[in-house]
């Protein structure tokens, strides 16, 4: 009995030991690996802007396929307003009046990617904001005087998929543009996809800007091999006069690019001596394709070169002093720093390793200064005032901070999730401010209050003033910011009221006594004033089929006294700011009586601010619903 007991004890102890050894690692198994949330109070204070106070920085982020620009404040990350650019926006009446309708043309959307603030001597001057349309090859100019889109140029001939845009040269001489999707040129030409490598062409371009008015016009274009041109940046200081674009698909592949365009270990950065391009265009060393001066590198030497860069690069970013060109190959874990001096030397010595369609390829070893091991999926780099660079890491979901010159990675911060671009305060100018970094993250993975499957984008504010980066705050926007720029608030001098004295609109009226309806044949012109709390005239009588033009002036001269003009069942809503005149055009096709009313709340008697459009001379119609019901019976 005793021996049995002892045996039993041994068995239990033995079994226990075996199980313990096996179970031990279970205790180190993690349930979740959550970031530490420390210093919440400190972070809250760092991003707090008290009610009534204003942010020291503006954040302009692109709205992606919403076609708009979002304006925020840094560090509060408050969304302050949306500037409609490529899509109609009833909130501000954009796309409903004559001027903006004509500007939008046949398109009701655009894909707004990379905003560029105008620059003087390589620094933001707060005059204009440019934004590209990747879908319809357009570029828009927003006046920062009143935050309004004033010009849309395009579709730009020969440029197809204007992604590598709108980076500006240091004195806003040119806005960069480039083809993301090579096509046969000129547009309208059909060539079989099998002939892609030879018959399809890419284009990089400089869109000229009038230094006084900001008016954009076609400058020069350069005919390029059928690669996919991705992002760009203009040289500055040491590299002023040059422009750079990354490109992927040096394979000239088609089909499933995810595979076919990722086979080479290196793609290229395109380096354009834009002063040489400008000269060539001026001297007429060009072909004219679809009305644009196009330089063919086969005919004109010394305008364009290719720098081999790590696989499928996304961002190319010029350091504040212009000495380094930073290229990030998104499928590797390194960012490459090219030395601009070495690039010039290599060009002078013809230190080439090959050519592509007549464009010399510089020898990689001769021009690179460093390969910085930043982490997985580097995309885009921005700079601060302390000589540090910040590179977004898409795959790793992090931002790496590293030192220019020593190339040492000094810090890394995780972000949530999958960062695309990033923006530091004035971080792509010759004198960055540092202080703040905004990470523009592609995925939010439901970190926010749930809103169903269609999810917003997450932007995170990071403090970069210290040695270690610190996460401060996060905010959400609609899809989908691709890039943003942060400008010191005092650089922008915006008006809030259009002064009556400055009004040049020939059909504006400034006194309700001038309000009138004039008929010229079938054209009915309405000179209308909006003022708290009425429209004058408040009755417009027309005949069915008349062409109606309303010149609507908001004669208020006080900030925030906006009025809207919504016309029932006519798909019209125009908003007039204080002192603004807008033109509303429509054909009075439907007979009957249609109310119009103020859509933008204005005053205590806002509800009473209304009138009637009376359309006579027709037979009472039948409503759509009644017709549909009739059809069903």
């Amino acid at each position: 009995m005793k021996s049995k007991m002892r045996r039993f004890t041994w068995v239990v102890v033995g079994a226990g030991c075996i199980l313990a050894v096996l179970l031990l690692p279970q205790s180190c198994r993690s349930k979740t690996r959550v970031q530490q949330r420390t210093g919440a109070a400190e972070s809250a204070v760092a991003s707090y802007v008290a009610p009534g106070d204003v942010d020291p920085y503006y954040l302009f982020y692109s709205g992606g396929h919403s076609g708009q620009i979002y304006v925020g404040g840094v560090p509060s990350m408050r969304h302050i307003c949306t500037i409609p650019v490529f899509s109609p926006y009833p909130a501000t009446g954009y796309g409903f009046d004559k001027e903006t309708k004509e500007m939008l043309g046949e398109y009701t959307w655009g894909d707004a990617h990379h905003p560029a603030l105008s620059e003087t001597k390589g620094d933001y001057d707060g005059r204009w904001l440019f934004i590209n349309d990747n879908a319809n090859n357009r570029i828009a100019r927003i006046e920062l005087r009143d935050f309004k889109t004033r010009q849309i140029l395009g579709p730009i001939p020969n440029v197809s998929g204007n992604h590598g845009s709108t980076f500006v040269t240091p004195n806003t001489e040119y806005i960069l543009a480039a083809s993301r999707f090579s096509i046969p040129l000129p547009k309208g030409t059909m060539a079989p996809i099998e002939n892609y490598a030879s018959q399809y062409k890419g284009v990089v371009a400089g869109i000229s800007v009038d230094p006084n008015t900001g008016q954009m016009a076609l400058g020069w274009e350069i005919l390029m091999p059928p690669f996919n041109y991705d992002l760009g940046d203009a040289g500055k200081m040491a590299s002023e006069g040059w422009a750079f674009w990354t490109c992927y698909n040096a394979e000239r592949a088609t089909g499933k690019l995810e595979v076919t365009a990722t086979q080479k270990d290196r793609d290229y950065i395109v380096a354009v001596d834009w002063k040489a391009a400008e000269k060539a265009a001026k001297e007429g060393k060009v072909k004219t394709i679809d009305g644009v001066k196009v330089i063919d590198p086969k005919d004109v030497q010394g305008v364009v070169y290719l720098l081999p860069c790590s696989k499928s690069p996304h961002g190319v970013d010029v350091s504040p002093d212009g000495k380094y060109i930073i290229g990030s190959g998104k499928l590797q874990s390194i960012t490459t720093a090219f030395n601009f001096e070495k690039i010039k030397t290599a060009i002078a010595k013809k230190d080439f390793s090959g050519q592509e369609d007549g464009i010399p390829v510089l020898k990689y070893e001769s021009i690179k200064d460093a390969e910085i091991n930043v982490g997985l999926g580097p995309l885009h780099t921005q700079f601060d005032d302390q000589g540090f660079a910040y590179t977004s890491l898409f795959v790793e979901s992090a931002v790496a901070k590293w030192k220019l010159g020593t190339w040492e990675v000094v810090d890394k911060i995780p972000i949530t999730y999958n960062i695309g671009h990033l923006a530091t305060a004035e971080g792509d100018t010759v004198s960055p401010d540092g202080k703040y970094l905004v990470a523009l993250n592609k995925l939010s993975h439901g970190r926010h209050l749930t809103v169903g499957p269609s999810q917003p984008e997450c932007s995170q504010l990071i403090d970069v003033s210290g040695e270690k980066m610190k996460m401060l705050y996060e905010a959400y926007t609609e899809p989908e910011p691709h890039y943003a720029q942060i400008i010191k608030a005092d650089k922008i001098k915006a008006i809030e009221v259009y002064q009556k004295a400055d009004s040049k609109h020939p059909n504006a009226i400034w006194d309700v006594k001038d309000a009138r309806v004039e008929r010229k044949g079938n054209n009915v012109n309405v000179y209308m004033a909006a003022v708290r709390s009425s429209f004058e005239p408040n009755k417009i009588e027309v005949k069915q089929g008349d062409r109606v033009t309303i010149y609507l002036t908001n004669i208020e001269q006080t900030t925030d006294e906006l009025h809207g003009f919504g016309l029932n069942e006519h798909n019209i809503n125009v908003v007039v700011d204080p002192g603004e005149t807008k033109v509303i055009e429509f054909v009075a096709n439907k007979p009957g009586v249609f109310p119009f009313y103020c859509t933008n709340f204005c005053s205590a008697l806002h509800q009473e601010m209304q009138g009637y459009l009376l359309v006579g001379g027709g037979k009472p119609g039948q409503s759509q619903l009644s017709k549909a019901a009739g059809a069903q019976q």
Partner: protein, 222 residues
Amino acid sequence: MQAFLRKANLFFDLPLTMISRLLIIGSVLILIVTYVTPLWNMAFYSNQYTDGLVLNIYTYKLEGGMSPNRNDLQEINSLNHYIGMRPLLESDFSEFTWLPFVIGALMLLALRAVVIGRMSNLVDVVVLFTYFGLFSLWSFYHRLYTYGHNLDPTAAIKVEPFTPPVFGEKVIANFTVESYPDVAAYALTAFFILLVAAVLFSWRRPIPVRSSVGDEELGYAK
């Protein structure tokens, strides 16, 4: 030598005691757990997946973590395709078709030992199980090695070939991978421990006894 063989024969002929038989029955009951719980569990953590993408390996199926908002197996396969890893497909694992039957056979063999009640039957089960267990661990390692080394050369992202961990933690690209046994593996371990215990509870040291012909030899007291 003769003495040793004699001892061995005596050992293999030992009858199983009631405790041993109960232990075997218990061990067989524990094995039923392997039909409903995972054998092994892998979790992939990264900045994007702080809660980990989970992969549960059963004896008969492969199951990713599932929630209304995420299908982990599909997610793992989507991510792996960038580095050219073959997708993890249940149909690629023949183990899932025969593993449950091997375990069933082991259970039947163990019950056979209970009925026949001979040490040799029990030892058969222990030996077969040991072979089966070691083979399975090797096979698991080999599977992981193959997945991490047969990467499609045309993949968008080129990585050095690797072997995910069989046991413990390893950093692979931006993921920390954890791999540990789960309930079914513990059940199999318990099965083994209980069988060994059953052996010990029936084992007796032979003593010199007088044989029928009057010689003194090793044996057991009547």
